[in-house]
């Protein structure tokens, strides 16, 4: 759809094509609140109102072809402000799921494949993961007030299990420290699993419901294994 100059016969489109979607796109009155509020509006010619309109008109090829559904961060602001309750994030996910799996943007597709195989999007082996966590814990222990800090990996019967976003063990280890310090200060009895710890769910993100379920079930399995009742899933 980058070439907007081609002319389309409007009546040749099947406007009923997405009627079965439960996203209420037909309720849109084109007020534009969603586009005004969306953090991704204007990026790559995207804005949510346009997407809603194209779904309403049944422009299937065009919406699958563009990058727009991938520009959306699924933050949900649009739906929050929409006076007609159009469920835009859910619509975006449905559009994503219509793409051939191989045509989803490279990194997402690859990440999801890796996660299904290894338990995390980075394909990080268990030992390396434990090493990184302990390394971060040592750094914390050097700070005043956190003397003797240890990271409780695989602690049976802890009060709280937390998942971890892959970027926190990759590029953003500083952020790990913030979380852990809060747990420490709050006296929380917490733990982290050494396997299937991945917090992002690119199955959800790409609209692949089947794989989303697999990823989710794996986390629940860890809760059962470690006999933890509460889950913190910050993503």
């Amino acid at each position: 759809m980058n070439d907007m100059n081609t002319t389309i016969d409007l009546s040749a489109l099947d406007h009923d094509r997405f009627k079965s979607w439960p996203n209420d796109q037909d309720y849109c009155v084109t007020c534009g609140l969603c586009s005004s509020d969306c953090p991704a509006s204007g990026i790559d010619d995207f804005d949510p109102r346009k997407l809603v309109r194209m779904v309403g008109l049944g422009m299937k090829d065009e919406i699958i072809e563009t990058r727009w559904s991938w520009v959306c961060t699924l933050c949900g602001k649009c739906q929050n402000v929409c006076p007609m309750g159009v469920q835009i994030p859910s619509m975006v996910r449905q559009i994503r799921s219509m793409r051939d799996r191989d045509a989803t943007p490279g990194i997402l597709h690859k990440g999801l494949e890796t996660a299904i195989q290894s338990g995390n999007n980075l394909g990080l082996p268990r030992e390396d993961f434990i090493f990184i966590l302990e390394d971060v814990a040592e750094e914390i222990a050097e700070e005043p007030g956190f003397e003797g800090f240890k990271v409780p990996i695989d602690k049976q019967g802890a009060g709280l299990l937390t998942t971890i976003h892959n970027k926190l063990v990759n590029t953003h280890t500083e952020d790990l420290k913030h979380w852990w310090k809060i747990f420490h200060a709050a006296g929380e009895d917490w733990t982290v699993s050494s396997i299937n710890w991945e917090g992002t769910n690119w199955g959800y993100f790409t609209g692949d419901d089947e794989r989303m379920k697999i990823m989710t079930e794996r986390i629940v399995e860890q809760m059962d294994r470690l006999e933890v009742k509460n889950l913190l899933w910050p993503e």
Partner: protein, 524 residues
């Protein structure tokens, strides 16, 4: 037939004449007949649709209307015959013309290009095939539409999409949903598959050849270029005054709005009044579209007729009266009376008290001072000003003439808000700013006023239509005199107000007082 109404004293005709035979006219007639008020319909066409037994003058028209409430005499022409018809009160509910607006889109009417009402009645070309054909509504693109037309468009589009399974498109600018239930109808139409395309800074291009109509446009929400090749296109109809309106207007001497509908665009006429007491305009005659609005208007008209026939409508306390000995028959009074209360009897003007609204404009305009308008005679008013001057010790004495419909209520509210009038100011309440003559103004200056303020209604809000304009032209007249004698012309000031402008009233008076204080007290 004896009416149940207790007639107004002196009323001689107890009946209602209804001009027109449409649904609005019929509803009014039925309501009045239910009250045993005799009804006469005067209809241009045939009496089709009117309940049997009704008193109908069909293929007839009114050429003149004389008299006042309770005693109108209409001149009627029917089949080349002329006769008179008495009426206690008259209501005009004549039909306007629904004109298809195809020319605005550069289209000719054809089997494919149809006026909206035909499509609304299910009248489709034979070429239209369910499940395949495309229907386009060109709606409010050339000029802004209105909720009544939008209701028809959405109802018809919904029917075509749902029942005929046509691909249906509504192309419009601002979608007019300001009517009961229209937002819901808009949603239902979309759910049924109707696609709405709204234009703001772009407009569709419409091309038409023998074979097809092609509409191309940019959908503003997506930026996508689309085309449509409709099998049928519906064009809006606009309501325009029919040719008969001009004749009715002339016969009844009614003020019209800018388009020519039979009610001036003045809030004081809401909902069914005209400039003539006892003559009402309802439904299409005053430019209303849609049966729903007609029904409410019919009720309002029946209510107004009932009130007026019983003489229970509020009447003005004061009436103008012509002194025939002084009159030179210039007929100025006849021309300026908005309410058409001056009648010419054998070339002599006479004021019909029932019709007079007591505005005093005629008295102020009469070049011979032949019209008495008690108690606002210039001599009496000037005497009052002299007394007021004597009562006041302030060096600066000012006079304000206040219109009873706008400035007086505004001042009353200002008092309630705690306003204190400047001690040197003398205020005179008059029924209409148009009743102030040059003599009134001069009287104030002669009594020693340093400045004179005249406050009337805003243009288009004046009950007597031109009162403020008359006042302004008299002030100009006086200012020209001032210029000649080297007196500051701005010692006389005019302003306009609405009844709810108490704060505005205080501001205007303050500005006036400051300005006059700047000039100082006048020379003795």
């Amino acid at each position: 037939m004896a009416t149940d109404l207790e007639l107004k004293d002196g009323g001689v005709a107890d009946n209602v004449v209804i001009i027109g035979g449409n649904a609005c006219a019929r509803q009014i007639g039925e309501k009045m007949e239910a009250r045993n008020v005799p009804v006469v319909y005067i209809i241009r066409e045939t009496a089709a649709g009117i309940q049997p037994g009704a008193n109908v003058l069909e293929k007839a028209g009114v050429t003149d209307c004389r008299g006042g409430v309770g005693d109108f005499t209409l001149s009627v022409r029917q089949n080349g015959k002329r006769f008179t018809q008495r009426a206690g009160a008259v209501v005009i509910a004549e039909n306007g013309d629904l004109r298809p607006d195809h020319e605005a889109y550069g289209l000719d009417l054809s089997p494919r290009v149809r006026p909206l009402s035909e499509i609304a009645n299910g009248d489709l070309p034979d070429t239209v095939r369910p499940g395949e054909s495309v229907a386009v509504f060109l709606h409010g693109l050339a000029r802004e539409s209105n909720p009544a037309t939008t209701r028809t468009v959405m109802n018809s589009a919904l029917t075509l999409a749902r029942d005929k399974d046509l691909k249906t498109y509504v192309l419009t600018r601002n979608l007019k949903v300001a009517g009961n239930g229209l937002e819901k109808l808009y949603r239902s139409a979309r759910e049924a598959g109707v696609v709405f395309v709204k234009f703001t800074w772009t407009a569709p291009e419409i091309r038409c050849s023998h074979q097809e109509i092609q509409v191309s446009f940019t959908d503003e929400a997506t930026g996508v270029l689309f085309t449509l090749t409709p099998d049928v296109a519906a064009v809006d109809e606009i309501l325009a005054p029919s040719p008969a309106f001009k004749q009715i207007q002339a016969a009844f001497k009614l003020r019209t709005d800018s388009a020519g509908f039979l009610q001036a665009d003045n809030v004081h006429r809401f909902p069914v009044e005209t400039n003539r007491k006892g003559i009402f305009a309802a439904g299409p005659a005053r430019g209303l579209l849609g049966e729903h609005a007609w029904t409410a208007d019919a009720g309002a008209a029946a209510e107004a007729l009932t009130t007026v026939l019983q003489g229970k409508a509020p009447d003005s306390a004061h009436k103008a009266e012509i002194n025939r000995n002084q009159c030179v028959r210039c007929l100025t009074c006849y021309r300026v009376c908005t309410y058409r209360a001056v009648r010419i009897d054998i070339a002599r003007p006479r004021v019909i008290p029932e019709a007079c609204a007591g505005c005093g404009v005629c008295a102020a305009e009469c070049p011979r001072e032949a019209i008495r308008f008690n108690p606002y005679e210039p001599s009496a008013v000037s005497a009052g000003i002299v007394d007021a001057r004597l009562e006041r010790s302030e060096e600066l004495f000012t006079v304000a003439f206040l219109c009873g419909r706008s400035a007086v209520p505004a001042r009353e509210q200002a008092f309630r808000n705690g306003w204190n009038a400047p001690p040197g100011l003398f205020m005179i309440d008059v029924p209409c700013a148009g009743s102030i003559s040059v003599n009134h103004l001069l009287g104030a200056f002669q009594a020693g006023a340093g400045g004179v303020l005249v406050i009337g209604c805003h243009p288009d809000n004046c009950h007597s239509e031109n009162g403020t304009l008359h006042a302004k032209s008299r002030i100009k007249e006086l200012q020209n005199i001032f210029d000649k004698i080297d007196h500051p012309r701005d010692r006389v000031v005019s302003a306009s107000l609405a009844a709810n402008m108490d704060a505005g009233f205080v501001r205007i008076v303050e500005e006036f007082e400051n300005r006059i204080a700047g000039f100082g007290a006048p020379d003795k």
